[in-house]
């Protein structure tokens, strides 16, 4: 096991009488791609929102690079090096593709807000550098010609790529991907798998990946954690976990098995 970048320790989250996540733990090592899977309603999305700080757990602790971040709001976690994508695609809908990326770079800017309001050279240069970087990243995703388009003018598949580019814009050390393959065509899923692998290999990111498409999980993940009814029921290498009878049972029936083998 490598040095952990993220440790979730016995996390519990209740909504009224429903326990969405029950004493679940998981660890993402530096440079690892860790999969988080489980049937619908198993608490994956709640877990992601807890990791990124959109929600706070009732019990348990989150460590990020060894520091306790349990009480930190999402924007502080982002500043510490965490980025995320959303299951239901989220972008700033009234802005251009480029502006969506530049916003993710604001937190890294050194010049003061006053300098930006007064249109000082320092702020201008920083803004120009952010735009240059945004265009480079868009080129990396083959989206350079769309930079100044309104983000809503792009197809859903392209918007998903913009979401990934936005995440990379903030140079995260941990990228939390919430079902990135949802709604993508099979060739695009292949491309996504390559891109995620390159994010890890070329940019050294650690990745927590929530995914329903098993091909993505099996191709990419070093380690898989399975949630069911908010509890961790299995973890280990993808091939082993997928064949685990407890996991098969959780997904109910043979459909899962077929998908796992197919």
């Amino acid at each position: 096991m490598t040095v952990p970048i993220l440790e979730a320790k016995a996390i519990t989250k209740r909504f009224g009488g429903v326990t969405a996540v029950n004493a679940a733990s998981l660890t993402v090592g530096k440079g690892q791609i860790v999969g988080l899977i489980g049937p619908n309603g198993s608490g994956k999305s709640t877990m992601v929102n807890l990791v990124t700080g959109e929600m706070t757990p009732d019990e348990g602790q989150f460590l990020f690079n060894g520091h306790d971040i349990t009480a930190q709001p999402s924007y502080r976690r982002a500043r510490l090096g965490m980025a995320r994508s959303f299951q239901l695609l989220r972008l700033f809908s009234s802005l251009s593709v480029e502006d969506n990326l530049v916003l993710a770079n604001h937190m890294r800017m050194q010049s003061s807000l006053t300098a930006s309001i007064l249109d000082r050279a320092a702020a201008r240069e920083e803004e120009a550098a952010a735009r240059k970087r945004a265009r480079e990243l868009l080129a990396w995703f083959d989206l350079q010609e769309f930079a100044s388009r309104p983000v809503t003018a792009l197809s859903i598949g392209q918007q998903r790529m913009v979401e990934l580019a936005r995440g990379m814009m903030s140079e995260p050390t941990l990228f939390v991907l919430d079902e990135p393959a949802a709604g993508l065509s099979p060739p695009n899923v292949d491309r996504l798998i390559q891109l995620i692998r390159r994010m890890r290999d070329e940019f050294g990111m650690s990745i927590l990946l929530v995914e329903h498409v098993m091909r993505v999980v099996r191709d990419l993940c070093d380690h898989v954690v399975v949630l069911d009814s908010g509890e961790k029921i299995a973890e280990g290498e993808p091939e082993a976990v997928v064949k685990d009878p407890v996991v098969v049972e959780a997904y109910i029936g043979t459909g899962w098995k077929r998908r796992a083998q197919g």
Binding site: E54, R79, A83, S93, D119
Partner: protein
């Protein structure tokens, strides 16, 4: 560049307008400028940052009463009142911004209405401090002196008009820079998706509070100008009707377009002058225009026009 030239031409035209207009028309034009400041200010917090406010009249009143009370108790001049009105109103804006951190939509709207009502009650009932229903009168703003030489004597309607025009230009430049800075882009991000704004590392608390402060401070400046120009303040100049009127100006003109609220203010503030004996029904007409705008052109006249031309 074309926009800049058009803006300079418009300001030049407004600057010479009093020479061709009577006192009444100059007064109407000055009222339009007060509303321009108010509507552009409201647009910062509502149009750009997406936080609804029905309390414009309250901040307008805070600015006006700051000037009137300072003038009465300290004998200070308008040059001190302008920054003081902006700061005091800005602090009240910060105060109203705090509930906005937790409340959204209708709930925030209700809090702003409550705030507006409280401010109105205080200025109309705290007679010993604010003069109560009668309000306060103000002396002439006095001469403008540099090294003991009188450059300019405040007193005529024109002098107040020109001051108001100059301050309007300054307020518009401030609003323009705010919108086109990093802060303005963060406001739009908060309006579009607050959760996402937090997830990409933006401090949404700072974003919302700065929007409320900027909005309130601009309304405060408009209040100081109004108090001096009208030589006094009365509570009934700062009611929720003012707030509603400014909302209508912003929405009809076009939220989040900068130019829209200016045009909306010019249109709605001059409209009663063309209505003759129906002028007393202006609130009814504003209401109808607001409903029509929201149902038919929610992006406002300027918003619609821009969408047309960019296609």
């Amino acid at each position: 560049m074309k926009t800049l030239l058009a803006a300079i031409a418009a300001v030049a035209l407004l600057a010479v307008a009093p020479f061709g207009l009577g006192g009444y028309e100059t007064n109407v034009l000055m009222m339009v400028l007060f509303f321009v400041i108010l509507a552009v200010g409201l647009d910062l917090v509502s149009g750009y940052c997406g936080q609804f406010s029905f309390a414009t009249g309250a901040f307008y009143g805070v600015g006006a009463y700051t000037a009137a009370i300072m003038s009465r108790d300290l004998g200070t001049s308008i040059w001190l009142h302008l920054p003081a009105g902006a700061v005091v109103a800005g602090l009240f804006g910060l105060l109203l911004g705090i509930p906005a951190l937790r409340l959204k939509g209708h709930f925030l709207a209700i809090v702003t209405i409550a705030f507006q009502t409280i401010v109105y009650l205080v200025i109309s009932q705290w007679t010993s401090f604010t003069g109560g229903q009668v309000g306060l009168t103000m002396p002439n703003a006095g001469p403008v002196r540099i090294f003991g030489v009188t450059l300019f004597e405040f007193g005529s309607l024109r002098s107040y008009y020109w001051l108001t025009l100059a301050m309007t230009v300054i307020c518009l430049i401030v609003a323009w820079r705010l919108i086109h800075s990093r802060l303005g882009r963060e406001w739009v991000a908060i309006r579009d998706d607050e959760t996402l704004a937090g997830a990409v590392g933006l401090d949404t608390t700072r974003g919302k509070l700065t929007a409320f402060v900027a909005y309130a401070a601009l309304a405060g400046v408009a209040g100081v100008l109004t108090a001096h120009s009208l030589r006094g303040v009365t509570p009934d100049d700062f009611t929720i009707w003012i707030s509603a009127t400014v909302v209508a100006m912003m929405v009809v003109g076009g939220r989040g377009t900068f130019v829209g609220p200016i045009i909306g203010a010019a249109f709605l503030a001059t409209l009663p002058e063309f209505l003759g004996k129906f002028a007393e029904y202006k609130m009814l007409i504003y209401g109808v225009l607001l409903v029509l705008a929201i149902t038919l052109v929610p992006e406002g006249v300027v918003g619609r026009w821009r969408a047309r031309t960019s296609r």
